[in-house]
């Protein structure tokens, strides 16, 4: 193929943003319901989860944002050879601006020097877009909306850490992640999901950690030692009694997902991307045939 592929996914991207902002994924709803069922009836924890579930239903029915903090939109774009990433970037930006005008997104991009809100969610490195060329004949885009409250309690550890008694091993990782949960208390809108990265540099640590949040809660880590660690930390974190909103209770985290990246010999980072219960993620798939979009689906 010699000609660059011309396509326009702007309206489909707008729908992707709408879905992400207003429809909580089913696996998250199931986990919240499970949490509610295990809390003491009538307790603040149970009431909080009941309110959350009611809100989730209303947001879906009314097509309004689940949470007013619609966060940083983070797009991971997989595309075949021949598709212009500059073109896709422009379409993503246009869709984000349109979604803001329609109140699916709050204007969230603030100039760090002047304090001025751009008003349309466009700005320097905003939204976040990562491009990945692949061999498949389709465009696959994931979007997550990462809110500020949970971003503020996300944290990166440098092991070894004497205060935590955390060495450069999986037990050290466990101690660091549990420290992050303790420090977050309810401030990241518990019950949260923990995206964890072991290794990488300081930058890739957060990228890998946030990518873990795209995984379904019931998936199983292909690396058995990580699968076991995810399970262990999940059980430990829910023993802490922090509970929904930090009101106290049994439901503190809904999932723990751990990924790895190669590291420098000198560095051993453990990065915890805390995500609130409103773990908003959505997917768009556009099938291509002879440079034309033949079918678009969402998940």
């Amino acid at each position: 193929m010699n000609e660059p592929i011309q396509l326009d996914l702007t309206s489909e991207l707008l729908e992707l943003v709408r879905k992400a902002a207003t429809e909580l994924p089913e696996d998250m709803v199931v986990a919240l319901e499970k949490g509610r069922a295990q809390e003491e009836p009538g307790s603040a924890a149970e009431q909080a989860l009941a309110t959350i579930l009611k809100n989730v239903r209303m947001a879906r029915e009314n097509s309004t944002p689940i949470c007013q903090d619609t966060g940083t939109p983070i797009f991971e774009v997989h595309y075949p050879f021949g598709v212009s990433t500059r073109m896709l970037k422009e379409q993503i930006q246009e869709a984000v601006a349109q979604a803001t005008a329609r109140a699916y997104l709050r204007p969230n991009a603030v100039d760090s020097l002047t304090g001025k809100n751009s008003g349309n969610n466009l700005g320097v490195d905003f939204p976040t877009i990562h491009f990945h060329e692949w061999e498949e004949d389709r465009i696959f885009i994931t979007l997550q909306l990462k809110g500020g409250g949970s971003e503020n309690v996300s944290v990166q550890y440098k092991l070894p850490d004497a205060a935590l008694g955390a060495g450069r091993d999986l037990e050290g990782v466990r101690r660091a992640v549990l420290d992050a949960v303790l420090k977050a208390q309810g401030k990241g809108c518990a019950p949260g999901v923990l995206g964890v990265a072991i290794g990488g540099d300081r930058g890739t640590g957060y990228i890998v950690a946030k990518k873990q949040l795209l995984r379904k809660l019931d998936d199983v880590n292909p690396l058995p030692e990580l699968a076991a660690l995810e399970d262990r930390i999940y059980r430990d974190a829910n023993e802490l009694g922090i509970g929904p909103m930090g009101f106290g209770g049994k439901t503190t985290v809904l999932g723990v997902k751990i990924g790895v990246a190669h590291r420098l010999p000198a560095c051993y980072f453990v990065t915890v991307a805390y995500m609130c219960w409103a773990n908003r993620r959505a997917e768009l798939t556009a099938l291509l045939q002879n440079g034309r979009v033949t079918e678009v689906s969402y998940a």
Binding site: A44, N55, R106, G119, Q185, C189, G248, A278
Partner: protein, 204 residues
């Protein structure tokens, strides 16, 4: 379950205890990071001198005397007639206002602060003295809470941007839980201490 209407009396505040569910009614004002910094720098550290500041200060004094400030940066829609409506309006994390809140509570005679995640010792002390309480709204329950916002009466400092502006809203049966009361109790302090102890036990 308590039902309270702004302005709230000291007696009603003293009757509240941590864990109580409250339905709030009346006119409240949103304010978060930029608004708190502004109020401290323009009203509280020294008397306002700029005519615009004086006018806004007078309006806020009237609205917040016995009133409630809400840590919230809403999603809003402007109607064709120019009026505003709240689309999504859950609480934002309150602890960022800890350095300002005690002074704001005292200056305006606030009876309550709505937010999420709880606040620290300075705010708790101001709550005991004032008296006032910290009302915890459910974080992320933005569409549901927006249903409680019946009317947007005014907006100040819109130049701060939509999330940071001070929105004057009339609410009906806004559901909140008292997590810091005027008797020195804080659910947040209690849960923090208990969870620390549990983690120590887990790690052996």
């Amino acid at each position: 379950m308590h039902k309270l209407t702004v302005p709230i009396s000291d007696e009603d505040i003293r009757a509240l205890h941590v864990g109580d569910t409250v339905y709030l009614n009346g006119v409240i004002v949103t304010g978060r990071d930029a608004a708190h910094k502004y109020m401290i720098e323009h009203f509280i550290r020294h008397e306002p001198t700029d005519p615009e500041d004086i006018a806004l200060h007078d309006k806020l004094k009237a609205l917040l005397d016995g009133g409630v400030i809400y840590h919230c940066g809403p999603v809003v829609k402007k109607r064709e007639d120019g009026s505003w409506t709240f689309v999504a309006a859950g609480p934002t994390t309150s602890i960022r206002e800890e350095v300002y809140e005690a002074d704001v509570i005292r200056h305006f005679n606030l009876k309550g602060v709505i937010g999420k995640g709880g606040m620290g010792k300075n705010t708790l002390k101001a709550c005991m003295e004032q008296p006032a309480v910290y009302f915890h709204a459910i974080g992320g329950a933005a569409t549901l809470i927006a249903q409680s916002v019946k009317e947007v009466l005014d907006v100040y400092k819109l130049d701060f941007g939509v999330p940071e502006a001070m929105w004057v809203i009339r609410v009906e049966d806004f559901p909140v839980v008292v997590t810091m009361d005027s008797h020195g109790n804080s659910i947040h302090e209690k849960v923090q201490a208990e969870s620390e102890a549990r983690l120590r036990a887990l790690l052996g």
